[in-house]
Symmetry: C2
Subunit: 252 residues, 2 copies
């Protein structure tokens, strides 16, 4: 049975996160309702279960259907149904064993901070406004300590019995279009991980903590050592990485 991959962007402001919940609007419920109307498909899998208020520009969803579909027409139908706050950027056929969540080998997020005395109404939905001047260089130095394979228990919402070991491939703070931008990639993220790292980064930027505090908190593997969780609105799932399709680039 053919399997398809959907690439999705959304403004998470008005949703209670990606994952379906009773009686509240979620991305999953909106997408699956639209998909069902067109294809009869009732089940999808997703690469990143973003939290309430978190955005995406490169979310990936997969589903399997009995008969082949016209990808372009499905994309257009979904966009017509989903309105301005969700966009389907692509529908493409994937290998039969493709699974948006289990096939993913990496996720990339960005977090935007607006660091100026007064907030900006046109950036309010997509960034965290911090009025106090931040030391961006110290923040970048601090966040460098999370790169590599670590137990991120200090930066993960408690979920007893679940591993909190993740491998971070890149984490940098840099200026970007008037914002301070964290760009962070990992094989996977535990719940609240990016926003907890942002919170500690800002404590470092405010010079309440030294850059080495990021390492110390990480090594403590103790959630009570965390400094907090930054607001959801600054966070966006940017992209998901998959291995090359089998055979792609092969010479036979």
């Amino acid at each position: 049975m053919p399997t398809y991959r959907i690439e999705l962007a959304y403004d998470g402001t008005g949703f209670h996160g990606y994952a379906r919940q009773d009686n509240v609007p979620t991305i999953q419920a909106a997408l699956e309702a639209a998909l069902f109307r067109r294809t009869g498909v009732v089940e999808t899998s997703v690469a990143g279960r973003t939290d309430r208020g978190v955005h995406a520009t490169g979310q990936v969803v997969s589903f399997t259907v009995a008969d082949p579909i016209d990808e372009d027409r499905l994309r257009q139908s979904l966009n017509r149904q989903l309105g301005p706050v969700i966009a389907v950027n692509a529908v493409v056929e994937a290998g039969d064993d493709f699974h948006a969540r289990f096939s993913a080998v990496g996720r990339r997020y960005r977090y935007l901070i607006l660091n100026q005395p007064v907030h900006d109404p046109l950036a309010a939905r997509t960034s965290w406004h911090v009025a106090e001047p931040l030391d961006l260089e110290a923040m970048d130095r601090g966040v460098g300590y999370v790169v590599g394979a670590h137990d991120f228990a200090s930066f993960c919402k408690k979920a007893p019995g679940r591993s909190t070991i993740r491998e971070v491939s890149e984490a940098t703070w840099a200026p970007a279009g008037g914002f301070f931008e964290l760009s962070i990639g990992a094989n996977a993220f535990c719940h609240h991980m990016v926003r907890s790292i942002v919170s500690t980064s800002v404590e470092i930027g405010r010079r309440r903590l030294r850059p080495e505090a990021m390492r110390d908190i990480l090594e403590a593997r103790d959630r009570t050592r965390a400094t907090g969780t930054a607001p959801a609105r600054g966070l966006t799932l940017v992209s998901v990485d998959y291995p090359p399709a089998p055979g792609a680039g092969d010479v036979t």
Copy 2:
């Protein structure tokens, strides 16, 4: 009596425009309520009465008060009261004869178009999504015809008895951060003028009209010749120009 100037930014999405109206949220009503609570001032003037759904990054408002005020504290108080969708970037003392509307000698607006096959949820509030490919060079050539002093009757909402002569100092379409951006400055704008010029620009960009059509419609001085009015959400009042304060730069 001292006169003060307020510099204001707002996300116009949820407001019925700048100007006060009964029973609907307006920027003016929100600002004046906050200002009254702090200062007792009941009357303000504004440089640009933006329409429903139009944004601002550099709106200017002025008011006069019996006794001098602490500018920084007023700015902070207004920002606390006005919440995330309105920002007061500055409160500064101005000359006694300063008037936000009548002293202004120029206004500058931008209009953003997102020209790509699928819309972008994170740009939905601040740009007009046009899926069909647009010829940006033709749009820029066309909009060049509005520069100079002209009777803009074709591009103004009908307002019998009011002059529709305006002087446009600059009008260009250029790429900017993934968008097509119109940057347009004039001594003043009549109602719907920028959005009407955008509508004709897009007809030119779609190659339904030649660039010279902008000149032909302008010269017709006839509102029925206009091609329509582009959506409000793409429009932002960027700045207002005033003459240098009397004495500024003088050598006496």
